[in-house]
Symmetry: C2
Subunit: 254 residues, 2 copies
């Protein structure tokens, strides 16, 4: 019994940001798995459910899956791996019990499944376990990286330059590699740019990109850094969550 799991990138969740390929993929689903993260606000849940209502079949079943809690202590990579394994087991159970052969389940992924998302890894874990023969399909979506660049109207690379994408955790722990003086930073809950900026550092920051709450701030960190922190704090206070991202250029351009 082969079943299909579609991992569908949905960008910011604005229906206008979906590709026709993503819309078609939602229309082919028999079951949609909706991961119920504790951190998900009702706003994010409602956006996904609206997409499923709008583009899904009338017979589409929505299965909510409470996300296993992450262990609070232990080595970071080991904790993440254990958490992936637990998720894989829960998804596998739904695929095994609720899908008939040839049917298709799907997961809507914020942004693009290729950038800092665990969905592909979990699907591969299920494939490797071999309990449920699984075909995986990946549909790209517009990532927050792209929304950041479009919002600020910038190319992410300098002429003949590189694009380096990292996380707040990694930036704090290891800094930027030798010879790399700018980076797109994701998943930084601590405004690390305030600690790491040089006097000339330039930042292109964005939060809630692609939504009605979108905020964009650009300037030297020395001048706009504290304002970014304030705007970020207010958004989080009002909404209960905030997703932000920034491009940090350690040498401001002339």
């Amino acid at each position: 019994m082969m079943v299909t799991l579609s991992l569908i990138g949905i960008g910011s969740g604005d229906p206008r940001q979906l590709t026709q390929q993503a819309i078609d993929a939602i229309g082919e689903l028999d079951i949609a798995l909706v991961l119920d993260k504790g951190s998900d606000s009702s706003e994010l849940r409602l956006l996904r459910e609206e997409l499923l209502r709008r583009f899904g079949r009338s017979s589409l079943r929505v299965v909510r899956l409470p996300d296993p809690p992450r262990a609070a202590s232990g080595e970071y990579l080991a904790r993440v791996a254990a958490w992936h394994e637990q998720r894989a087991e829960r998804w596998e159970e739904v695929l095994r019990e609720q899908l008939s052969p040839q049917q298709t389940a799907g997961i809507l992924v914020w942004g693009d499944p290729a950038f800092y998302d665990s969905t592909i890894r979990i699907a591969q874990t299920i494939q490797q376990r071999g309990v449920v023969p699984l075909e995986v399909k990946v549909i790209p979506g517009i990532s927050s990286i792209q929304l950041l660049a479009a919002g600020h109207q910038i190319a992410l690379n300098q002429l003949n330059g590189t694009i380096h994408i990292t996380t707040g955790r990694r930036l704090r722990d290891e800094g930027l590699p030798e010879g790399v003086d700018e980076a797109v930073v994701m998943l930084d809950g601590q405004c690390s740019f305030l600690q790491l900026a040089t006097p000339d550092s330039e930042i292109f920051w964005g939060a809630c990109l692609g939504s009605a709450d979108e905020q964009l701030i650009h300037g030297r960190v020395a001048e706009v850094g504290e304002r970014i922190r304030e705007v970020r704090d207010k958004l989080r206070e009002r909404k209960g969550w905030v997703m932000d991202i920034y491009l940090l250029r350690q040498k401001a351009q002339s």
Copy 2:
């Protein structure tokens, strides 16, 4: 007289890969600028013209702009800058002569304007020249980077890892930064992975992504590198052009 220039990411050119936002943006255009690069095959021109026919207004005017030739000699960055300036002058002339105030011109950009594309820079040059007051809009599109990851069903980052994107030229000239052992490589006409691979290097390669000619090859460079070169050569011979991209992991994963 303020006019608008929309830079619209169209992904691989497959209409199913456009977002609704991109489709709407095409529908708002009064003029579409089609850059006529010598290297563009009729296949690429036809794809763009098909999108304009399908999603543009019936009154949409299509203006073909022959691209200025790039100087063959001189320092690389200076040559590119001069070429951008020439392009800006040609676009500006069309915007000034053929658009009425409040009208909108647009350019369809392969992939996403944020990744290794000169369109945003040229639009900013026009803004800085100040001859034509210009509002710029950027609409993200699905980039080949994302199609590569989706095709191979991989996340581009390792757990807590970075994503490094570079060009063939840069990779040959400078290698990878210290501490970076994998990179997405674009614009590599010379199959540089064959020179730079270590015995364990792993490659995820793709060409003509998102089209009927799509090719995907994955494996150790030592095992699949020559085959990639052959497939690439055949595609270029048959089509007159080839666009390819790859993720090179210098330490193969277990």
